[in-house]
Amino acid sequence: MQLKSFFGSPKPEFRYELLSTAFPEPMAVALPETVTLLIPEQPGTAPCQAIKAGAKVKTGQKLSWDANGGPSIVSSVTGTIQSHTPYTGDYGKKFAAIGIATEKADQWDESFQSLTGEPTVQTLIDHFSGAPGGADFSKLTDPGKPIKTIVVYGGDTDLLVETNLFVLKSRISAVMNGVKILKSATGIDEIFAVAPSEAFQNYDGHFEANVKGVPVDYPACQPLMIYYQLFGKMLEQGQSFEDTGVFFIRAEAVGAIGQAFSQGRVPVEKILTILDKSQRKHLVSARIGTPIGGILKMLNISLNDRDRIIFGGPMTGRAVYSEQQPVQFDTDAILVQDANDIILNSDYPCINCGECIRTCPTRVPVNMLIRFLEAGEYQDGADLYDLYSCVECGLCSYVCTARIPILQYIKLAKFELARMTLAEEKND
């Protein structure tokens, strides 16, 4: 996909993990003493009766802050609710963090089982929004933005990470079942299954979906790149996939749906790739909400002062600040970097070397863009220098000779612009 010019040919090229050999069973992480679950909502006055401190919860029970609906998640353990704390995620996203003291033996909440006969979108919204892989299923029901196409993507969104593709390849029957259920629940016929072509061959025809291969070079498996390859266009400023009638869902989430409907229980274990300090890979499976400290201890990864823990892969991951951070439904990988390996960002100015231009998969004039973003001129960056063509793959930051945190600048710019657009809409 990437155009390669003769001049400047020594540019980096990366391939995704292809998992072409064996599928090792993920190592199971022991049930921790407490788990933390995040409900995507700003805690209001008081939580409803079901999640008051001291209330008992069962595995698989639907938890929401408000008794009358609202965002919900599924409890991954059986135990007693201990605490509620407000929690602020990336870019000011508000959550309510619920601490649960676990019990050894799982008691399953049976309310989901009765719903397995006839899959509906409401069931998906209620029980799968916090399931492994996760997806915002409420977008399927928005009457203003009807969804015409569902894209199931099986590639991982970062290098060295193999979580999503592992689920697709090792639990293929669950994914196939999930596709069927998605079809009958939503009534949408056009479903694409997209995976790196060399990793996923000969599945066409077995799948009740249109199987498409994408190149195995990073970042062809990013949703935005897939969108471009399938439909031949990019999103406009402020547009989301749903605005154009397309719903993206990870293969892992589809696998969870398939497994849940055949077993009657929503999966509560999340598969993660752990990359230790010497960049060796470990595939583990942990309850959602497990503090990452416990997982690292199990793998004998010791943490020292100034070491860095990163959620996500080496290209697009974000650093977290505590070992107590819980594994979430969308935590695909944890990368641990030794303090000595960390390459620091700098406040060097851009020297215009052109590495970012050569490596950019969407041909954004990064060198021009970054000058505007550094100066806080976000709207100019969007209007003149293709900010919204960026797929946030992080290659430009990786090759930057001046070590400018370009990806972070771009994410910040998009966030700030979205906030301004929202504020303007409110004022109108």
Binding site: K11, P349, P365, M368
Partner: protein, 394 residues
């Protein structure tokens, strides 16, 4: 253990926080990184290539300039012995050349680096390695007879006024080495131009204070009598195409050898350090304006008008400037389209300044500095044009 590593390990403690030289830590770090890169490798695929930083990027340029420096050293010695009518073996000439050239290079590094360290220490910022390149390019553009104090003033002006006052490497809109060179050119024209500055006079292998007059190819070409042609005048003065190509003639220290500049430019283009758009634009510019002048030439005009345009690429500092000065990424435009135009205009201006303005026999320095100033404007136009072509968001 490696003695160099040993040395650095021993000195490190002085530069660490609390050490007596702690404020000069940027200097230590920069020096250490000249010698050592990271030994890290990753145990499994994808193997990341080693990381390219500003410092290593600049080192690639220096590697390709070094042949020009070595040739310049040899050439300086060779010209001196030749002018004195003596013969000597290669090593004697190299040694004599080194005695001429190396002091200028060392002075350039001491002063260029000194200013950089002062500014880094004040800004509490690591040394930015652009100065390595500037301090190497600057002495190569000087005549061999340049007084040492002038070299010191020139590089100081180039680094401080050309770069540091704007915020250091990455924020300079002028090429620092050429800024210093231009300053000397206008401040001390006697030592920087004319026919008497290109050869250091030697007597029995010793440098003496005297001057030998020797016209450079540029001077020869610009002062041809109306009856002759520039090509024959050059050949008669001993500057055959072959000589001009290889570079064994009196000229600026490092700028005479076209062949080494071509090698340097090609390697830098393949590495992706130099922009091929700029270099090709440069060459188109020289050739097209050269041909245009050929067409305009009539019986009454100077023979310089009708000189074969390819000669413009061979004489003077054209090749050196195109390979190493116009491709400085910081002072060049940012967009691809603007780089073509930038290169083309540099080439065109070079020829125009040379031919129309006998007061400035060498046009490339002024052409590059002039276009440096216009680079942001070219970018602005390139972006405007691109936006006009864009389909409007409805």
């Amino acid at each position: 253990m490696n003695p160099i590593q040993n040395f650095f390990d021993k000195q490190r403690k002085h530069f660490e926080p609390g050490g007596r030289l702690a404020p000069w830590e940027p200097f230590y770090e920069a020096m250490e990184r000249v010698f050592f890169a990271s030994p890290e490798t990753s145990p499994q695929a994808p193997h990341c290539r080693d990381s390219l930083s500003v410092q290593r990027y600049m080192m690639l340029v220096i590697i390709m300039v070094l042949p020009c420096l070595l040739f310049g050293i040899y050439n300086a010695g060779y010209q001196s012995f030749k002018a004195a009518g003596q013969s000597a073996d290669v090593w004697t000439m190299l040694w004599f050349g080194a005695k001429i050239v190396m002091p200028l290079v060392i002075i350039s590094y001491i002063f260029g680096f000194g200013w950089e360290i002062i500014f880094s220490a004040v800004r509490k910022h690591p040394i930015s390695e652009g100065v390595f390149v500037s301090a190497m390019l600057f002495p190569l553009t000087l005549p061999p007879t340049t007084p040492w104090w002038q070299a010191a003033i020139g590089i100081s002006f180039g680094v401080v006024i050309g770069k540091e006052v704007f915020g250091g490497t990455g924020r300079n809109f002028l090429n620092p080495a050429l800024t210093g060179r231009a300053f000397l050119y206008f401040a001390y024209p006697v030592q920087m131009s004319g026919d008497a500055v290109w050869i250091v006079v030697c007597q029995n292998g010793n440098r003496i204070v005297d001057a030998i007059s020797s016209a450079t190819p540029l001077a020869v070409a610009s002062t041809v009598k109306a009856s002759g042609t520039a090509e024959t005048a050059l050949t008669q003065a001993g500057y055959s195409i072959q000589t001009l190509f290889i570079g064994l003639y009196p000229d600026s220290i490092g700028a005479s050898s076209v062949v080494l500049c071509i090698i340097g430019a090609v390697v830098l283009m393949i590495w992706g350090v130099a922009s091929y758009r700029i270099i090709l634009g440069d060459i188109f510019g020289v050739l097209s304006v050269g041909y245009l002048l050929n067409l305009l030439a009539n019986d009454g005009s100077m023979p310089y008008f009708s000189m074969n345009p390819w000669y413009h690429l061979l004489i003077g500092g054209t090749a050196f400037g195109f390979a190493f000065m116009t491709t400085d990424p910081v002072s060049a435009p940012d967009t691809h389209a603007a780089r073509w135009v930038y290169g083309y205009l540099i080439g065109a201006l070079t020829v125009i300044i040379r031919v129309f303005n006998p007061a400035f026999p060498e046009g490339i320095m002024l052409a590059i500095l002039f276009m440096n100033i216009f680079a942001p404007l070219l970018d602005q136009i390139a972006v405007k044009v691109k936006l006009k072509k864009r389909i409007a968001n409805v």
